[in-house]
């Protein structure tokens, strides 16, 4: 074991032996042997001064970390419904038979593991594959055969042909955000130069002054006012008002403040952040820096989902350039006391980390379990300090507002939903990709623009969102009608909506963190019900069970994952009931034996015929 230990030491020291970097350390340690052997866990725990069981527990939480031998090549097929529709399972079978392996079981020679994984954010160019974390889009039989050959010959992944890993942006419609070319630093300078817009505004910069920026600087408060005036709401789906969040964080007591960019874009069918980070990274970092200036933060994190590992090096290059241009580091844009830098943390396959408090736990090197709230991250976030967590797209919009002002921004979109929304369009349509619209656009318009025909249903905002049918296509994308984090999956008349719901049910069960009873057990029970229906063995009773579990999960789950886990089932049963009823053994389950009838004799003998003498109807 002497050899790998020295490699481990290099990794540990690069992260300064910080326990908060545990997830990053585990991820890199895994690259040595393709898994995390027990001795490695023990060694890391000892060097980091953590209990061994805690390190093992963290490793055991994330899908991309392996505590058992997994194979030098780990090939994971994205398993979103759009990948299914594009034939991912046939390709998976092809690869398995090509390599003589069984799905989900590492080959005995330790060469390869072939399995599925949750949506990897390539729905516009699926079916997609991850090989040792590197994304390969547009899988075809020929590509799969090529991959098999590369694996058989033991070619290291960094020597595979670059064309395999080429990922397209597919920007199909640009508006104010995707259409604005910003000079790096332009929005930050605009924020610094802003004077007070309203006469009653606080003239002093009390908060940022404590962080080192001169008390006379009016930029932070003036920029905050612009963000508030813009009516910008969070783009991650929940739609909390960004200005209020920043203000609460700015006013909260703490020793340090943190800016966190949530780039854990895990909602199946969403991939807009992938494009923003690939081609608009300056805008994202610009927004984070403006936020830091407003709230008085010195440190920021970008939490990048593990599936987007290919973006890590390019993003780090952008950060390095911004540092050398004086847009990060000390005295940003020459402003005395304005100090801020950004660190990138890579996730390791856990959808729940998109929930902001779970994301913070993960940033701290822990299992990604959502915290009990209150308190909220704005007062008790990263290391219990005031923390602003925003979506990638929110930071981009904030940068534009810092530059062009709140009034300009609120004039776009609808009264309750200011600005534009970027949609990730996939599924049955001619032109999948990224579409930016002012809020208020109808579903019908989007379908027309992307070339979708004979559309039966659209899943808005992914499995945790809403499924609508053709009668609802005049509804609008807006917080007041159809709020969305961005996913827009179209299904034409040929699709079986039960299959869609079945796929989503398995997604939630796989991604449940397991903290609370209702979600941990409930999502698995839902899979059992759906599998039973799929097998044609269901009855009305099973549909009732879905409704009952839905009520329980809504009422008692710990976080949004459990609250929304039944949505796709509920929505499709409501709108596409025949897809379910086709699968029932009988519509109304009638037992052959009439229990109540059998009591007739007893009623006769006792002379009773009241309600209590009859068997009640279940539920």
């Amino acid at each position: 074991m002497a050899e790998p230990r020295s490699e481990l030491d290099v990794i540990l020291e690069r992260y300064g032996l910080q326990p908060t970097a545990l997830l990053q350390i585990l991820r890199e340690a895994q690259e040595i042997e393709g898994w995390l052997p027990p001795a490695t866990i023990t060694y890391l725990a000892r060097r980091l001064g953590l209990p061994r069981a805690r390190v093992e527990g963290v490793a055991g939480f994330y899908s991309f970390l392996h505590l058992e031998r997994a194979g030098r090549y780990r090939v994971l097929f994205s398993d979103n419904i759009t990948d299914r529709m594009a034939g991912n399972l046939e390709l998976l079978d092809r690869l398995c038979s090509n390599l003589w392996v069984e799905r989900g079981k590492p080959s005995e020679d330790g060469l390869v593991l072939v399995d599925t994984t949750s949506c990897t954010g390539m729905c516009d160019q699926g079916p997609a594959i991850l090989v040792n974390g590197w994304a390969i889009p547009r899988a075809t039989p020929a590509r799969v055969d090529q991959v098999a050959e590369l694996i058989r010959t033991g070619t290291p992944v960094d020597q595979w042909p670059g064309e395999l890993f080429e990922i397209a942006d597919n920007v199909q419609r640009a508006d104010i955000l995707l259409g604005t070319a910003l000079e790096p630093g332009q929005a930050i300078r605009a924020a610094i130069d802003r004077g007070p817009g309203e006469p009653d505004e606080r003239a002093f910069n009390e908060r940022s002054w404590r962080e080192g920026i001169a008390a006379s600087a009016q930029g932070p408060t003036a920029t905050l006012e612009e963000i508030k005036r813009s009516n910008l709401r969070g783009r991650g789906g929940a739609g909390f008002t960004t200005g209020l969040k920043w203000e609460a964080c700015r006013s909260a007591l703490g020793e340090q403040r943190y800016v966190v960019c949530n780039a854990d874009e895990g909602e199946p069918g969403t991939f807009k952040d992938r494009v923003l980070l690939a081609s608009y990274a300056d805008l994202v970092f610009e927004g984070m820096t403006v936020c830091a200036y407003v709230i008085g933060a010195r440190k920021g994190f970008l939490y990048l989902r593990g599936e987007y590992r290919h973006l890590l090096a390019p993003l780090q290059a952008v950060l390095a350039r911004r540092r050398s241009d004086g847009l990060l580091g000390r005295e940003i844009c020459g402003q005395a006391g304005f100090e801020f830098d950004i660190e990138i943390h890579l996730g390791a396959g856990a959808y729940v980390c998109g929930e902001e408090s779970a994301l913070i736990e993960s940033l701290e090197g822990k299992r990604g379990i959502p915290r009990n709230r209150p308190p909220y991250p704005v007062t008790h976030g990263y290391l219990q300090q005031p923390t602003t967590v925003n979506n990638v797209e929110t930071f981009c919009a904030a940068a534009l507002i810092a530059l062009k002002g709140g009034d300009w921004y609120r004039g776009i979109g609808t009264a309750k939903s200011a600005g534009t929304k970027i949609l990730s369009v996939s599924g049955d349509c001619a032109r999948p990709g990224i579409y930016e619209y002012p809020f208020g656009v109808t579903v019908r318009q989007v379908l027309e623009d992307c070339g979708a025909t004979n559309t039966q249903a659209v899943q808005i905002s992914g499995p945790s969102g809403t499924c609508i049918d053709a009668t609802e296509f005049d509804r609008r994308i807006a917080f007041e009608d159809l709020p969305t984090a961005g996913a827009f999956m179209a299904f034409d008349e040929g699709r079986d909506m039960f299959e869609v719901a079945l796929n989503f049910a398995h997604f939630f069960a796989h991604e449940s963190c397991g903290f609370c009873t209702p979600c941990r057990v409930g999502t698995t029970l839902l899979c059992h019900v759906m599998d039973k229906l799929e097998a044609g063995k269901g009855s009305q009773h099973d549909l009732n069970r879905i409704f009952r579990l839905n009520r329980l999960l809504q009422a008692s789950s710990h976080c949004g994952l459990g609250h929304t886990a039944c949505n796709p089932l509920f929505d499709t049963i409501k709108r596409f009931r025949p897809a379910y009823e086709r699968r029932l053994e009988s519509l109304e389950f009638e037992p052959a034996f009439d229990l109540d009838g059998a009591l007739a004799r007893a009623r006769e003998m006792t002379g009773r015929d009241d309600a209590g003498a009859h068997l009640g109807v279940e539920e």
Binding site: P38, A39, I41, T42, P51, R52, A53, R54, E56, G57, A59, G60, F61, Y62, S63, L67, A350, R367, N372, P374, A509, H510, E511, S512, C513, G514, F515, C516, T517, P518, R520, V521, G522, T523, T524, L525, H528, R548, R551, L552, A555, S556, S557, H558
Partner: protein, 250 residues
């Protein structure tokens, strides 16, 4: 009970209940003599709210009462048909998730899961059994780990870390594969520094952590929950109020 007019109060099932600043709904309710069904809550530890059996309605919204900070004037509903029905289902979920065979379990009569189930009127599991494969760990000469009965309440994890300062237990896995692990490279309890005198030995609400050789010293029929239902006893635990010094117990 007499309500001190100077103390703040909240409404629990329509009754005015006094509380002290910093208490959660559960803590205030128990201290004032009101039982709310619970499994993962323990008066000596910081609540973490995972079992959700203590879910109540707070001003019309549902919340886990053990973690919900109480506020003056709050309206809390706990003992309602709808909530008790949900609690039944949660308990049933815990039964089907593990492998629980009460008649042959040496914890029967002292088991909180069993007692809460009886108290809520759970008659059968109703749901599909998951029949997980969870081997026991009998490696330690004095202690048996019967993982089949684990309800993942984390009380042993908390006790071992916060009181014993040993971190013998932790959780690994995710979702339905979440499971208890021990602090040893071999994965065996015998290779940890656990001792029968540890706090972690006494907090398991079910029959996972068992001391060997003493199982049936108290015969079935004379055990704690054989004498009276848990709802009539939980208040006996309440005076063991959160040890003021312990972290986070406020």
């Amino acid at each position: 009970m007499n309500v001190d007019p100077k103390r703040p109060t909240f409404l629990l099932d329509g009754e005015e209940v006094p509380f002290e600043a910093g208490q959660t709904v559960m803590q205030a309710a128990l201290a004032a003599g009101h039982y709310i069904p619970h499994l993962c809550y323990h008066p000596e530890f910081k609540p973490h709210g995972s079992c959700k059996v203590c879910t109540v309605q707070v001003n019309g919204r549902t919340a886990a009462s053990c973690t919900m900070p109480v506020q003056a004037g709050m309206e809390v509903q706990s003992n309602t048909e709808d909530l008790n029905k949900k609690r039944q289902t949660l308990v049933q979920m815990l039964f089907v998730e593990g492998n629980h065979f009460c008649p042959s379990c040496e914890k029967s009569g002292n088991c909180l899961l069993q007692a809460v189930a009886y108290d809520l009127g759970v008659m059968s599991a109703e749901l599909d059994y998951l029949f997980p494969n969870r081997p026991v760990d009998a490696s330690h000469p004095e202690i048996l780990l019967e993982f089949n009965r684990c309800i993942l309440c984390e009380l042993c994890v908390r006790a071992s870390a916060e009181v014993d300062h040993k971190n013998v237990f932790a959780l690994s896995g995710r979702g339905i594969t979440k499971h208890l692990i021990v602090n040893a490279e071999s994965g065996r309890l015998a290779d940890t520094d656990i001792a029968v005198t540890d706090k972690a030995m006494e907090v398991c609400p079910v029959g996972v952590i068992l001391q060997k050789h003493v199982g049936f010293r108290v015969p079935i029929g004379e055990r704690r929950f054989d004498r009276s239902p848990v709802s009539a006893q939980a208040l006996e635990d309440a005076p063991r109020r959160p040890a003021a010094k312990r972290e986070g117990s406020a």
